[in-house]
Symmetry: C2
Subunit: 675 residues, 2 copies
């Protein structure tokens, strides 16, 4: 059993796949489809250059409502010495003729005088209100030849190139194609991509879950990516981890598709069949690419029929051509990036368009990143501008954290050959958003709180975006000192006097004038089982002496704000830590504490109401801690943050926050400190 | 009759429409639609915040294939002093248990050791190949708690905000929504937009055209724009210029749509009924906006029923609500910009999303632009970077020239209050392309030639873009002198010696080292009627003495390259200009000459083969002129232009050019001059 897969460099992997496609005659556009020229052509790719069949306009056209004239006849006309031109009449010579915008210019004319520059005269030479058929007109200015005329071919000349091949059709392109005499377009056929989710542990979206079940949503993301890139995805039903079954489905898919994405099973575990499937049905080109997230990628080619040698003569050659297959890793971030890295260039080639490119900017990294030297490492980042610096704050690097891609403003690359990057170093970021949006981004780094989600929601209505990176309260203050955020959310208790934040601000950012505004009061309390079977009421019940009898506690790790809060109150209540069963059992998050309670490992733990609510547990509020916004003065006065301060006084926002369980909005907006 | 419409400033017009929508209760999202969570949700806009129903993972999950352990049990393990852990067996205590990636962590465990870091042992303590069920495992390194574990809620915590309202759904968003326990999404209903083309002169796409017919393709462009912006367009059939009929159709459309776009008839001519229709059916808010192109815009509200007062009680209130109507100007560029300026903000509001914004950059204008002081004037520009300057070269400003929008890289604004801008001034450009593409743009300014279209086509395959602005040969040399282009196409004949370009290069850009390469030889000749009824063979036939008898010539304007060429050859042939009938009749373009011949105004004129071909005329080649590429040395050596030089040696390209009528590729790539 080959437990270890061998990672090869990204560029090498891409080259192997490209060569295999070239050998199979598949490194080219796949085919042409003729479609009607309507709004559904939007986004399709021209398969051939489009040449004009006709000119536009196809005749010399009046560009205004007015009178067609010979420019020569108007020479010398002045305000003080007007010229009179005879309008078409039986026997008289023609000097002017009424034309609407778009009308053909009479053959004898070479200019148009707009109607508003003309006096209409009746047969007696008196000014008349007749528009179209006066006896004559009087003009008080000469016109140059071709004035107010759209000459034949002004827009498009028959035979000219209207659009090149490989062009992605925009709305105005459709108009130009129509104007040049076409009523259908030849576009690249959409590549058909089969997406096969495999895994015995997978269950469809919407299933009722038990431990070990994994919701199968990768195929949804992959299909949407393929669709966005111009392909035509087909999502297959979930396939169990069964080698023969997977082979069967892959062969089925190969009959009617151009590319197969075999999701998961691409690693090297006992139930990872993808590599063996590709080996059996064709050629395994690559197993493992030095790229993170995403390294257990499989690249290969499979034949449309198993056992080609036995094919009967009647089958066309075409069915024997191999088609590419990509084993896509199971973690959602790896899966999505695999499509970006390996599938997009193939679709670009098959559609004959340019590869999609994100705009790239240089940003400053806000914290140190470690990375394996051999890997191209893609890091999701939040991007914002603080003063004149464009900053990139890394989000979670976990390959399983799809929300990191949802929240990302861009993708930063730590190229292979580097072992990571220091905070403050310059890093290249491919931006998912345009610069205008980033200029309107308020960068919040610090402790996370649910109300930040609501702030983000409300600010969006006021042309601002809140991007948060969670590094804890102290990390937020450090970020402010370094000029890497506009504000930090903080709830740091000073155990010496029970105050919040101020002493820490003085310690961490001594020379920076700040404005500190209270955001919310937040309940901390005991998370207990539904119905509180042990009847726990207070910290006193945790000690061996408490009336709740034997209570198993679960603690937070040393240094956590909640641990500081617990110790502070135990001290006030003169309860000895040693008297609490489970005091030394540590969890690292609010939710970890709640999970320990839910699973029965503990009877209670200290945390926030939201964690209890998330796992449908009960919550006994004990203390309120204050969560403040710490804002350097220079940003507090900046127009960028103005909508945020408006929000703190907005009753609708206040009400929304008050609906969150365990939140108190009475302090909202209170000025805690202003330097 | 109100011939003159009154232009009001853009911001005022937008405000009036917004107020009317507010009054009608329509300045808000239109409604909610619940759709399945599949790839068709891509691009839809969330109508409400999406909160997580479940956590992801919803249990502590192994992040690797390996063995679940208690981290405490591994303390002290070293390469030299391994620790042995017992794998689950009947009566023995549990110390390690095999888990696949994604399996739930056993309740007693708090870490996972990846399988590749484990030695499997059989019941005798010997190393074994059993993967899942060895008797025990040996490890040589300790693991920290929660190593290789994805804790419950690592990605998503139940109750958290997954996505805010007003968010445009991307592929990864769909995954996050699925992961948080949803199987459908509530999105903003798509606004329904009726597009009504009006005009007796309009004919549908694909019609056989006669003079005065105008192809109706605005409704196609408008529909595609609306679709791209997230609306649902309906294209109505063409309506003749008939007031009652237009009223009838508008009322019909109003029953089932949220917004009506009434195309053309928005000016103030005799057949421009749009304003009167809006006045009759509702309220005319604005007629005329100080914006170019596009000023005859109409904004109004129409009622869903005519004569509200008479409505019977049973009809719902809703039918009485007015809906907005926009009279869209008839010229295609005006029409498209009207949708961008007035319709996009309404759709953004109705969908609850941010308005679409193009990235804005500051560029340097390459030529002077005159603009009415009162107007916001939008100018289509080609954008490229030459050395460190981002340049904006204006394209045709004609409102009828839709190809100017097709070719544009961006839209530059000359704001109201300025009467224009000088060449070299800084101008704000909203970019249609991202900077990466612009960095790969070769900017060609000079004389236009058909082969430039082919160069553009071929360069696209080599990751370069050719953007051309046509200012004539001399204009191109001036642009090179100013550092505003990478190359110029030029075919300037020196009548003193019959040479091309060099003397002009020395005159116009004396101090700039250049490389001049021949592109093509191009036939100039006589454009004659199909079948050449007058039997014209040479310039000699034009003079009164020629054997073709009485021939009417049509000339180009003084200064045109073709006129220089004519005079040069008349001089060589000692033919007097006065002896040529029509010598003093001037046209301004090759196509103008061809049109004069086609219409019978003249028997022949001098021009290029393409112009004859465009109007299906005959062509008698007489002379060959050389069309060169003039390239400053510094760019000739730049990597940006390398693919262009490759192209000149590319047989496939050479063959494509040789298929153009009247082109000679034998000179292609010849070095004419190198400083």
């Amino acid at each position: 059993m080959s437990v270890y897969l061998h990672d090869i460099p990204l560029s090498q992997a891409q080259a192997r796949l490209r060569e295999a496609l070239q050998d199979a005659g598949l490194w080219r556009t796949l085919g042409v489809e003729e479609i009607p020229l309507d709004e559904n052509a939007l986004g399709r790719v021209t398969a051939e250059p489009i040449w004009a069949e006709i000119s536009s306009p196809h005749y010399h056209a009046s560009a205004m409502d007015g009178f067609a004239v010979k420019a020569e006849d108007t020479n010398g006309a002045q305000p003080s010495s007007p010229i009179q031109l005879i309008v078409l009449r039986d026997q008289l010579p023609v000097q002017a003729q009424y034309v609407d915008t778009g009308d053909p210019l009479p053959e004898w004319a070479n200019a148009v005088i707009p109607i508003e520059n003309v006096e209409s005269l009746d047969e007696n030479g008196k000014i008349s209100s007749i528009v179209r058929g006066p006896s004559s007109i009087r003009i008080r200015a000469a016109v140059a030849p071709w004035s107010h005329v759209r000459p034949l071919g002004e827009d498009i000349v028959a035979t000219q190139l209207v659009l090149p091949a490989g062009h992605i059709l925009k709305p105005v392109d459709l108009g130009a194609i129509a104007a040049s005499g076409h009523q259908s377009i030849r576009v690249a056929r959409k590549p058909k991509i089969a997406i096969l989710p495999t895994g015995t542990e997978l269950v469809p979206i919407g299933s009722k879950l038990k431990a070990g079940d994994i919701l199968e949503y990768n195929s949804l993301v992959l299909a949407a990516q393929v669709k966005q890139m111009g392909g035509e995805p087909t999502r297959f039903p979930i396939i169990k981890d069964d080698f023969d079954l997977i082979c069967k489905r892959v062969l089925e898919a190969a009959q009617t598709h151009d590319l197969i994405l075999l999701n998961a099973g691409s690693s090297a575990g006992a139930e990872d069949f993808s590599a063996k499937v590709v080996e059996k049905l064709g050629t395994l080109l690559v197993h493992g690419v030095a790229v993170r997230p995403g390294h257990p990628v499989i690249l290969g080619m499979v034949h449309r029929e198993l056992g080609i040698g036995t094919l009967v003569e009647t089958k066309s050659q075409f069915t024997n051509l191999p088609i590419p297959i990509i084993g896509v890793p199971g973690y959602p971030v790896s899966a999505a990036l695999t499509v970006d890295i390996f599938v997009e260039p193939i679709l670009a080639k098959w559609l004959g368009r340019r590869p999609l490119e994100l705009p790239t900017e240089t940003a400053i990294l806000t914290r140190k990143l470690v990375s394996p030297a051999g890997d191209d490492d893609f890091v999701r980042v939040v991007v914002g501008r603080v003063e004149d610096k464009l900053l990139a704050a890394p989000l979670s690097r976990g390959a399983g954290v799809i929300t990191s891609l949802v929240q990302a403003d861009g993708l930063a690359l730590i190229p292979s050959g580097t072992q990571g990057m220091e905070a403050g170093e310059k890093i290249q970021v491919r931006l998912y958003r345009n610069r205008n949006e980033i200029e309107k981004t308020i960068l919040a780094i610090g402790s996370h709180d649910l109300t930040l989600d609501l702030i983000a929601q409300f600010l969006a209505e006021h042309d601002r975006r809140l991007a948060s990176a969670n590094v804890g309260s102290q990390g937020g203050l450090v970020a402010l000192r370094r000029g890497e955020a506009h504000l930090a959310g903080s709830h740091l208790l000073d155990p010496s006097d029970g105050s919040y934040n101020i002493s820490y601000i003085r310690q961490y950012m001594p020379d920076i004038p700040v404005k500190v505004v209270a955001l919310v009061g937040r309940d901390q309390g005991l998370i207990v089982k539904k119905g509180n079977p042990k009847g726990i009421k207070s910290l006193g019940d945790l000690a061996g002496t408490g009336r709740a009898g034997s209570v198993k506690f679960i603690n937070r790790q040393r240094g956590a704000g909640t641990r500081v809060l617990l110790d502070y109150h135990l001290n006030l209540m003169t309860i000895q830590a040693e008297s609490i069963a489970g005091y030394s059992q540590e969890e690292y998050t609010h939710l970890g504490v709640a999970t320990a309670v839910a699973s029965g490992r503990a009877d209670c733990g200290l945390g926030i109401a939201a964690a209890a609510q998330a796992l449908d547990l009960d919550f006994i509020p004990l203390f309120q801690e204050r969560y403040d916004l710490v804002i350097p003065k220079q940003f507090a006065d900046d127009n960028l943050l103005a909508p945020l301060f408006d929000l703190l006084a907005d009753l609708r926002f206040r009400e929304a926050v008050s609906h969150l369980k365990g939140y108190d909005v009475s302090v909202m907006g209170a000025l805690i400190l202003e330097d």
